[in-house]
């Protein structure tokens, strides 16, 4: 039986580093930047992993969700903190949608008596 094909293969994440094969300098710059940003700094590694987990959900990236679920657990975050981070992403998305309604309201008010 042939292997079922999907757009997202979990194993592909391990090949992320190979993007430098087709464009070395840009890929390297990205990874250097990434590694610098994700280092422990003014924010702890746990805080950065939680932010990355929230962004992963907001951007709906399955690779990132796997990677940063592991990353958060590794950095010592617990399930409650991780779910709260996702709620922050969710509420931001909801808010970003809702805030556009001011445009809708303004436009509707202009057009109606």
């Amino acid at each position: 039986m042939s292997k079922e094909k999907t757009y997202f293969e979990p194993a592909d994440l391990a090949n992320f580093g190979n993007i430098t094969e087709w464009q070395g300098p840009m890929g390297k710059k990205f990874f250097d930047y990434y590694n610098e940003v994700m280092k422990e700094g003014a924010l702890t590694a746990r805080e950065k992993a939680l932010i990355a987990l929230a962004v992963s959900h907001a951007m709906q990236c399955p690779y990132c969700i796997d990677a940063y679920t592991s990353g958060c657990l590794q950095a010592g975050a617990d399930e409650e903190q991780m779910m709260e981070a996702v709620h922050v992403a969710a509420t931001m998305k909801a808010g970003i949608t809702l805030v556009y309604s001011t445009q809708m309201m303004k436009h509707a008010k202009k057009m109606t008596m």
């Binding site: 391990a14 422990e40 702890t44 590694a45 746990r46 657990l73 590794q74 950095a75 010592g76 617990d78």
Partner: protein, 356 residues
């Protein structure tokens, strides 16, 4: 929680993973799984350690017995309340004391099971202290609360200046109980309070209380310094508990943790994480280089993990406390297998936490 609590050891359940040879077959891709990883020995060789040699024996680690009041899901010893036979007797402990008095091995590291359940535990510790040895007790904390005869352990530990190293996988109940059993978290917190009350972990007391963090699942520990900071702040804020150091220890893919990895379909991913995180810089500092591990029946091993896989030291003329030969042991080749990736992943792992 994904880790299921066990009420009995692998041995008493008759599980084939209780057979150490079977575990090695799994680790080498010959049983249960069809995946092979590069040999650890070849990785160590690439890092300049072919063979891996000891430095100096500084730690005499005695696994005094497998009897324990807990049956933790990740236990590499397969310890538990049903392990009533595999416990060190007085003669073997006397032989250990002879070795300790004959050689300049500064630290005695006592582990188990719950070491305090061995009837000769207090006597052995007191004798080690008379020899001027630093004594570490790997205490599971809940033993202090388990029975009135253990309630005064904190005072006795303090009188004998015993260093305490205790497991606390997380500063919350869910994560701790998932790994170590229902009710373990509350009992551990109460035991830590009692240890603090006699001075352990408090600044200026000279009484060391270190905690061990093992991940409660199929992931590697994060950076030790960050975890220690978080544990210190959370335990202080929530429970007014102080401790000295946090040791982040990687779970070894053996015994009950291996069972968990296989049952939860995490084995391949976990081993891949360990292998990919191999850090050549850790090899020079792995604990087997300065440790001799002694089993309840007196055999000698390079570490507690080799002990649990029944991989005895390579020196067959000196592989038991009855034929202990310091010179031969100092010149031995350390026995390696695939589980050794657990000690060299990331910042490395040992009984004292990170090594690099």
């Amino acid at each position: 929680m994904s880790i299921h609590q066990r009420t009995k050891s692998l041995a008493s359940r008759g599980d084939e993973l209780a057979d150490t040879f079977f575990q090695l077959q799994v680790l080498n891709g010959k049983e249960r799984v069809d995946i092979k990883f590069p040999s650890f020995a070849s990785k160590a060789a690439e890092a300049g350690h072919a063979p891996l040699l000891p430095s100096r024996i500084e730690i005499f680690q005695v696994n005094i017995g497998k009897l324990c009041n807990q049956t933790c899901s990740h236990c590499h010893v397969d310890a538990g309340p049903d392990k009533k036979v595999e416990n060190m007797d007085r003669n073997a402990l006397e032989k250990c004391l002879e070795i300790l008095s004959a050689y300049d091995i500064p630290t005695v590291d006592i582990t188990g099971g719950a070491p305090e359940m061995n009837p000769h535990f207090k006597w052995f510790v007191e004798e080690c202290r008379k020899l001027g040895k630093t004594v570490i007790d790997r205490c599971n904390l809940t033993i202090i609360r388990s029975n009135p005869k253990y309630h005064s352990l904190p005072e006795w530990f303090a009188e004998n200046q015993v260093q305490i190293v205790s497991s606390l996988p997380y500063f919350s109940k869910t994560r701790t109980d998932a790994q170590r059993g229902d009710g373990v978290f509350e009992d551990s917190i109460e035991a830590l309070r009692r240890l603090n009350a006699v001075g352990y972990g408090r600044e200026g007391s000279g009484l060391l209380l270190d905690l061990v963090y093992n991940p409660s699942g199929a992931f590697l520990p994060g950076a030790q310094a960050g975890l220690e900071k978080e544990f210190k702040s959370q335990l202080k804020r929530k429970y007014d508990i102080d401790f000295n150091r946090l040791f982040a220890i990687t779970n070894m893919p053996i015994s009950r943790f291996l069972e968990y990895l296989l049952e939860s379909d995490n084995y391949e991913d976990y081993m891949t994480q360990l292998v990919n995180a191999f850090n050549p810089a850790t090899v020079a500092s792995v604990m087997c280089r300065n440790t001799i591990s002694v089993s309840w029946d007196g055999y000698l091993y390079d570490c507690d993990f080799n002990q649990m896989l029944d991989l005895k030291v390579s020196t067959s003329e000196s592989n038991h406390i009855s034929n202990f030969d310091y010179k031969l042991l100092s010149d031995r080749n350390i026995v390696l297998n695939q589980h050794c990736y657990g000690c060299t992943a990331g910042a490395g792992s040992s009984c004292g936490g990170e090594v690099a």
